[in-house]
Amino acid sequence: MGQIRQLALVELKVEPPEKVTCEDISTIFEQVLGHPVKINERTDIVEDLGMDSLGVMNFVMAIEDFYDISIPLDRIAQIQTVGDLIHAVDDLRSGIQE
């Protein structure tokens, strides 16, 4: 007790799935936000889900763990919608540079 608690982050101990899906991303969102969310590829991560910059960063780290990738900061800056995120994760997993 008496210490500042670091935010608990999602750590899923399973092999990352082959395909990047809205469903998996939705599950990660729910774990980070702590409540159910309805998303599709057009969902704006900041506007529609009301995430602040810290929330986005924590969410990105959870995504990175789940898919076993690192998303460089300049790529994160280009991601606005869930669709953008799916494309970025797909590109990084297949080794496509920006």
């Binding site: 008496g2 500042i4 780290m61």
Partner: protein, 404 residues
């Protein structure tokens, strides 16, 4: 609509803080630990003045002497007319202090990170930053053209995982961590991070801004305290905390270090430090080395405040370092608490997101070697009084050991 309308959200935060009266303007500064605020003497407990050297008579005398003999400023860059004997002496003193071959002095600590990070990491390289890094590290990462990857704060396993993901990719890897993190006062697990560095063939840079003169047997910082100085390739730091002036530096044993003088744009395209600042900094660095009692006092004072706050039932950061952060449940409480502290004669830093890690609001204190035990007792009494007035320190909460 103006061209600044894009910052509407930040403006709202700024105006609301302004409306709460959290802007501070000192009427005067009486000593390293006391200032005049709103017409009353106020204990300064948030100034990063770790060794209390800002009013040191010898440092002041050196600054006055250099200003009289060499003028108020150099009016030029280090690579043009802005290199004086003092700049070279300061670089030599820093290299000697750290036992390194090379040292370079910058006009601010912020520029040191900007210059060094952008020079070390270029296109095709990889920069691995602790997620809680200072803004100057993030900004330096943007000034270079390398790929920037964040790892979880103080988590060597996460760092290792991210370096492993890079295996097979070309380019240098540079790991950047801080000695003491400026918001919570926690230290990096440097032994473990150095082991990851060795195993993965990365370079390691440690920003000792808050740990120079604070940690280590001779005050060289966390790398010294953790016994891993030989694993640290670059040390960056500042003169604006324990050395009581302004400016930044980098030391290293890299044999081609001096090329940085013409590839660091934040070094080249800015005026060099004024002679008075250089002179007082050299003196302060010498005091840091010749008076270990300063560091002993600082450590004693840090424990005094840290233990006192925890005994009162406040929720603090994880370590008793000179930076001690008290967690507040929300911004409204944090502002109210901070204003009552100030009205009672105690100044410290109000830190709200996004300047803080996670989404926590903090009352951030920084202890000085120059604080007297009486001043710290007064500060604790003010904390206890405000805590009671705001309903923080009920006996139940005290028994639970925390306020959250």
């Amino acid at each position: 609509m103006t061209i600044l309308a894009k910052h509407a959200a930040q403006r709202q935060v700024y105006e609301s803080l302004h409306a709460h009266g959290v802007d501070v303007q000192f009427d005067g500064v009486l000593s390293p630990t006391e200032g005049m605020l709103n017409g009353r003497p106020t204990i300064l407990l948030g100034t990063n003045n770790y060794l209390g050297l800002t009013f040191d008579p010898a440092c002041i005398e050196k600054a006055v002497e250099a200003t009289r003999s060499q003028g108020t400023g150099t009016t030029g860059s280090r690579v043009a007319n802005g290199t004086y004997g003092g700049h070279i002496r300061l670089e030599k003193a820093l290299a000697d202090f750290y036992g390194r071959q090379h040292a370079m002095v910058f006009s601010t600590g912020y520029q040191a990170n900007l210059g060094v990070l952008s020079a070390l990491v270029g296109r095709g390289d990889h920069l691995l930053l602790d997620a809680d890094s200072h803004a100057s590290i993030y900004d330096g990462s943007r000034l270079g053209h390398g790929e920037v990857i964040r790892f979880r704060h103080n988590n060597p396993d996460d760092l290792y995982k991210r370096l492993r993901r890079l295996s097979g990719q070309p380019g240098d890897r540079l790991i950047v961590v801080e000695g003491i993190y400026s918001m919570l006062g926690d230290t990096a697990p440097l032994k473990e991070i150095a082991a990851v560095k060795r195993e993965t063939g990365a370079y390691l840079l440690v920003d000792e801004a808050h740990s120079l003169g604070v940690l280590g047997e001779t005050g060289r910082g966390l790398a010294e305290a953790a016994g891993v100085e030989s694993d640290v390739d670059f040390i960056v730091g500042t003169f604006s905390k324990s050395l009581g002036s302004v400016g930044g530096f980098c030391v290293s044993d890299s044999p081609d270090f001096d090329v940085m003088r013409i590839v660091c744009r934040p070094y080249m395209f800015t005026a060099s430090l004024p002679p008075g600042i250089v002179a007082s900094t050299i003196e302060a660095l010498s005091r840091l080395q010749s008076e270990p009692s300063l560091r002993a006092n600082l450590t004693r004072n840090a424990h005094h405040l840290y233990d006192g706050l925890r005994e009162l039932g406040f929720q603090t950061g994880p370590e008793a370092n000179p930076i001690i952060a008290v967690a507040m449940p929300d911004q409204e409480t944090a502002v109210a608490f901070w204003k009552l502290l100030l009205a009672s004669g105690l100044y410290l830093n109000l830190a709200i997101p996004p300047a803080t890690p996670t989404d926590v609001c903090l009352l951030r204190t920084s202890v000085s070697a120059a604080h007297t035990p009486e001043q710290l007792d007064t500060a604790l009494a003010i904390f206890a009084d405000v805590g009671r007035r705001l309903g923080f320190l009920t006996s139940e909460k005290r028994r639970a050991g925390g306020v959250a």
